[in-house]
């Protein structure tokens, strides 16, 4: 193969232009300069290639060489991904630290996955079996939580002529497959996939099931389905990252891919230190054993930030293809868009809104559309899902920001964070009046099955009380609370109870941090039934003040601290109250 080599003529920040590149292809990866920095070709004009460089370009100058690798930006896929922390172009940050110290050095090439480590491969097929793309050849227990399935790679089909269970490194041959022409392909556990291309599946399905997150305002009011998309826009300090972390901790996905895209270094450290300590509510195993981290913090090179979300989603799709439910958190897509803007500016492209390139919406859609519930390739027709939850950081909290608007066009769930709620320390500061979920109808059957009641109706009733509260608050602001009828005042009290005793949830409290869906159901039932009983009592002539100061209200306020194993306590509060009202 001929090596394509060019010479640098221009350096401007992360953008390098090289000449002599007429044979190079768009989006191929190149090595730039004497330091061998990694870059990607993003524009070709005659023999000049514009290259976005994934590492700091200080000290690079004209005359230095550029060498094409002749392949697009890939990620390595195989056992060993789980529990790792990678940068935007999948360099392993843990191994990088051992190699080069505490600071990120340039031009260091370390393979993302460990080449030495041996994995126990359990073959699921026998010699003579016929396989096609996506069929599972065997499994590797990657962590105590993840059974990694080795799939027949793309373009590979035929008869298994060699396979055995044994201990292998990633590069050793685990199976040989002979196609109808008699050509034999060798299969290794290590596979590559270009990050900008979505992985194939048989067909896409409509979403159906809830991705339970343990967060009451989300699961009950604005749920996201497995395979769905959601976005969290909000000004700084409104708690985007805390919500993202909470979801990464408690979402009932088998695999979590967390992409820290242009955010704080300490946030990744937080995840790295906390997740090995936290236990998965279902299995009791450390959460780190199902998590992959992609970290390209704000001060790391901008171009790699652009690549990071694609690296993350490709890893997610790979696990989805094994038949798992995968949740992807991207924090924050605004920083990704800014990286796009910076490169676009240096290319002197005609800007769209706010200096963002005109292709911003289509690039965002490319990313979010890679979520979904699918029937994976392979004869067993297994189903997998990838859910994407993206944070957006609009400047000044202004929702007319092009990134917010482009995101809202493609996502189905919107959790609008509100700085006013955050100032009142109402967390999660998701404003219930502006947020929405378009999955409620699609999941209606599922909810009815799980709860055994018309759950959506109950949820809507709670929403109505909250909406009524917003109306009444307007009046109170003008003429004071005393002018309201006792009936309306009781509604305000119940709305307050929904807000404080249900919606408000403390992420840092050991118990409150996670509410199972069952618990949410019991809590909301308690609050709303108590509301009905109070309303009835009011009609029968009870004094509002006696009702407001009724001791059951404090019990309701504390009900959210009931342990998951004692959920009957919540029912007991309601039953006792019903009895009391019945007898009095």
């Amino acid at each position: 193969m001929n090596e394509i080599t060019g010479k640098i003529v221009r350096v401007s920040g992360p953008l390098v232009v090289a000449e002599g590149m007429n044979k190079a292809r768009m989006f191929d990866v190149v090595h730039v300069g004497d330091l061998n920095l990694i870059g990607e070709i993003i524009e070709l004009r005659n023999d000049r290639a514009s290259i976005q460089v994934y590492e700091d370009t200080a000290g690079i100058g004209p005359g230095e060489k550029v060498v094409s690798t002749n392949h697009p930006l890939n990620v390595e896929l195989g056992p060993g991904l789980i529990g790792s922390i990678f940068d935007g172009i999948q360099r392993p940050l843990d191994k990088l630290m051992l190699e080069t110290g505490n600071l990120i050095n340039r031009g260091v090439a370390i393979p993302p996955l460990d080449r030495e480590k041996k994995w126990d491969f359990q073959a699921s097929l026998r010699i003579g079996d016929r396989v096609s793309e996506g069929d599972i050849l065997g499994t590797v227990q990657e962590t105590t939580l993840v059974n990694h399935k080795i799939m027949t790679p793309a373009g590979c089909e035929g008869e298994v002529v060699d396979i055995k269970s044994d201990s292998f490194t990633l590069e050793e041959i685990i199976a040989r497959i002979k196609n109808t022409q008699g050509k034999i392909s060798e299969v290794r556990m290590l596979q590559n996939w270009p990050v900008r291309k979505s992985r194939p599946y048989q067909k896409r399905l409509a979403p159906r099931e809830l991705l339970s997150t343990g967060q009451r305002v989300i699961d009950t009011f604005f749920p996201v389905s497995k395979g769905g998309t959601a976005s969290i826009p909000g000004p700084f300090g409104s708690g985007k990252t805390v919500v993202q972390h909470q979801l990464a901790k408690w979402a009932d996905a088998e695999i979590v891919v967390y992409i820290g895209c242009g955010e704080r270094g300490n946030e990744m450290t937080d995840v790295l230190l906390e997740f090995p300590e936290l236990k998965d509510p279902k299995s009791g195993e450390p959460l780190m054993k199902r998590t992959v981290l992609v970290a390209n913090t704000s001060n790391m090179p901008v171009a790699a930030r652009e690549a990071s979300i694609f690296t993350g989603i490709t890893i997610a799709e790979y696990y989805r293809d094994m038949g798992y439910n995968v949740a992807v958190m991207a924090d924050s897509t605004s920083r990704w868009a800014e990286a796009l803007r910076e490169i676009s500016g240096r290319l002197e492209e005609m800007p769209g809104e706010e200096g963002y390139p005109a292709y911003l919406p289509s690039k965002l859609a490319d990313f979010y559309e890679r979520a979904g519930r699918v029937v994976c390739l392979g004869k067993d027709n297994r189903e997998g899902t990838a859910t994407i939850i993206g944070a957006v950081s609009p400047p000044g909290g202004d929702l007319s920001d092009p990134v917010v608007q482009a995101t809202l066009k493609v996502v189905k769930v919107y959790w609008g964070l509100d700085s006013k709620l955050a100032y009142r320390r109402h967390f999660p500061a998701i404003n219930w009046l502006i947020s929405y979920s378009l999955y409620l109808d699609a999941m209606r059957d599922y909810f009815n099955e799980v709860t055994g009641m018309d759950w959506i109706a109950l949820r809507n009733k709670a929403m109505q009380i909250l909406e009524k509260e917003a109306e009444l608050e307007e009046i109170v602001r003008l003429v004071g609370r005393d002018t309201l009828s006792p009936h309306d005042q009781m509604i305000l009290e119940s709305a307050k109870s929904i807000r404080e005793d249900f919606l408000h949830q403390i992420a840092f409290d050991e118990i409150d941090t996670y509410s199972s869906f069952k618990k949410q159901q019991k809590l909301l039932t308690l609050i709303l039934e108590a509301h009905d009983l109070f309303m009835k009592a009011l009609e029968r002539g009870s004094e509002l003040e006696n009702l407001v100061s009724h001791p059951v209200r404090e019990k309701i306020a504390r009900a959210k601290y009931a342990l998951e194993e004692n959920l009957d306590d919540i029912d007991a509060i309601l039953n006792d109250f019903k009895e009391e009202v019945g007898t009095s």
Binding site: R10, G61, I85, N102, G265, E342, I506
Partner: protein, 476 residues
């Protein structure tokens, strides 16, 4: 080694100088510009395109000529010479001594741009720093390795607050080495003088390094100043094991200098004319705070910025808030009421608070207590708004209690003297005392056990903090 001297300047636009027919020039390289007068000043390469190099001069380009001036490229980036002798010294915005002392004999020369810390190598900040301010320690707690900016505006006492933090900050019960690095960008002589005399008066100057770029110094120099300060801080923290507090003031001036360069380059502007890469650029400053695994020292950053027109959504405070771990907001209305420090606690935030407080760090009741105080003060402020519209008579009995809580909170909790150094215990006690204003049933954010243990009895004039155990039975 003799370096080539280029006489091929073809353009001078604002702070930018275009040099042609150059070869072997590297991006970000340091350049030395020699004026016809013989004066030399530094610059850096912003872009190389073929045989052209675009150089940004750090000094004013006054006196630079197309013919007669020359440029030499030094083959390295901007560096700061470091040694333990940095402590106690005052430098200008480019790192030249201005205290009439001798030049620092460098042990090492470090590139001022630094390198990103590997997120895997970071250690999470969790050590409580006591600043002596109730509004900070109690509610917006600062921890070692945090970057917590002060959002202020012109005419507000942010400098006094920063100086007081520098004076009082310590980790209770620790005897570790402590240093202050001060980076001033475009501040007035009086402000700089205030800090220097305050440091001298308290002896803090012995363990301080100052980099001062005054309002009348070249604006473009300011782009280097915070990086020099942070390079010094990194040396002190990670090589000499010191706990370093970095104060950077005023970041708004820094961003304006950046805008000046961007405008001269005719780049496509982002919001309000600031360059699209402002976020990334600021992050290369703010992210240089933190702790590194296995290292004793730490860098805690307190950048100060003045919000143009008190507008928090202006790009500078906005992007800063997205990078830093919270913000302390100085409020003009509190200042008008004569409250010092005029910290508006509701929009203020410390993201690392919950990692730095609680049992084993401050006290077990601190997290619940802080949530309760916040919620109660927010409710009190709402009642206050309501009463300004409808009059106090329109408030319910409960709202009146919250109103009185909010007023006492501002006057007794937030307000304190410029030389009053409150311990965290005192801060907590004052808070508990204020909570007695409210009915017990309203203390929903505090666990019963903690209320029983710490809430003083209202009708008894016992100073909070004493004899809680004996109070307990009676309260029940």
């Amino acid at each position: 080694m003799t370096l080539k001297k280029y006489l091929t300047i073809t353009e001078v636009v604002g702070p930018l100088i275009l040099v042609e027919d150059v070869e072997g020039i590297k991006y970000e390289e340091l350049a030395e510009i020699e004026l016809p007068s013989g004066k030399k000043q530094l610059g850096r390469v912003l872009e190389v395109n073929g045989d052209k190099a675009l150089v940004q001069s750090f000094g004013s380009t006054t006196g630079v000529s197309v013919e007669g001036s020359s440029v030499r490229f030094l083959g390295r980036g901007i560096e700061l010479g470091v040694s333990p002798d940095l402590l106690g010294r005052i430098f200008d915005g480019m790192g030249r001594p201005i205290d009439n002392g001798p030049p620092v004999i460098a042990e090492q020369r470090l590139n001022i741009n630094g390198q990103a810390i590997n997120p895997y190598a970071r250690d999470y900040p969790s050590e409580f720093i006591q600043t002596g301010f109730s509004a900070i320690d109690g509610l917006n707690t600062l921890v070692r390795g945090q970057k917590l900016p002060i959002f202020s505006a012109s005419g507000l006492p942010h400098s006094r607050i920063a100086a007081q933090i520098a004076r009082q900050s310590r980790v209770p019960e620790s005897q570790e080495k402590f240093a202050v690095v001060f980076g001033a960008m475009g501040i007035t002589f009086e402000e700089a003088h205030f800090f220097i005399t305050d440091f001298q008066k308290t002896g803090a100057i012995e363990r301080a390094v100052l980099f001062v770029n005054l309002a009348n110094d070249p604006a473009i120099e300011r782009i280097a100043t915070p990086r020099l300060a942070l390079t010094a801080a990194e040396y002190l923290a990670f090589e000499l094991d010191m706990h370093v507090l970095v104060i950077l003031t005023d970041m708004t001036n820094y961003c304006e200098a950046l805008r000046e360069v961007s405008a001269a380059r005719k780049e496509i502007p982002g919001r309000r004319g600031y360059p699209g890469y402002l976020y990334t650029d600021l992050s290369t400053i703010y992210e240089r705070a933190g702790r590194i695994r296995g290292k004793k020292g730490s860098i805690t950053q307190i950048p100060i910025l003045t919000m143009p027109e008190d507008d928090k959504t202006h790009p500078i405070p906005d992007l800063t808030g997205y990078i830093t771990e919270g913000q302390i907001i100085i409020s003009r209305s509190m200042h008008r009421k004569g409250i010092y420090p005029p910290i508006d606690v509701l929009p203020s935030l410390s993201r690392l608070r919950d990692k730095g407080i609680g049992e084993g760090r401050t006290r077990e009741d601190h997290p619940n207590w802080a949530n309760q105080i916040f919620a109660s003060y927010a409710r009190g402020k709402e009642a206050q708004e309501l009463s300004t519209i409808l009059g106090e008579a329109a408030l319910s009995e409960l709202d009146k209690k919250f109103l009185s809580f909010a007023e006492r909170f501002e006057n007794e909790f937030v307000r304190q003297d410029e030389y009053e150094d409150r311990s965290i215990k005192d801060t907590l006690s004052i808070g508990w005392d204020l909570l007695t204003e409210l009915p017990r049933t309203e203390l929903k954010r505090i666990k019963y056990e903690l209320i029983d243990k710490y809430l003083p009895r209202k009708d008894e004039n016992v100073s909070p903090g004493k004899d809680r155990v004996s109070n307990r039975e009676e309260t029940d």
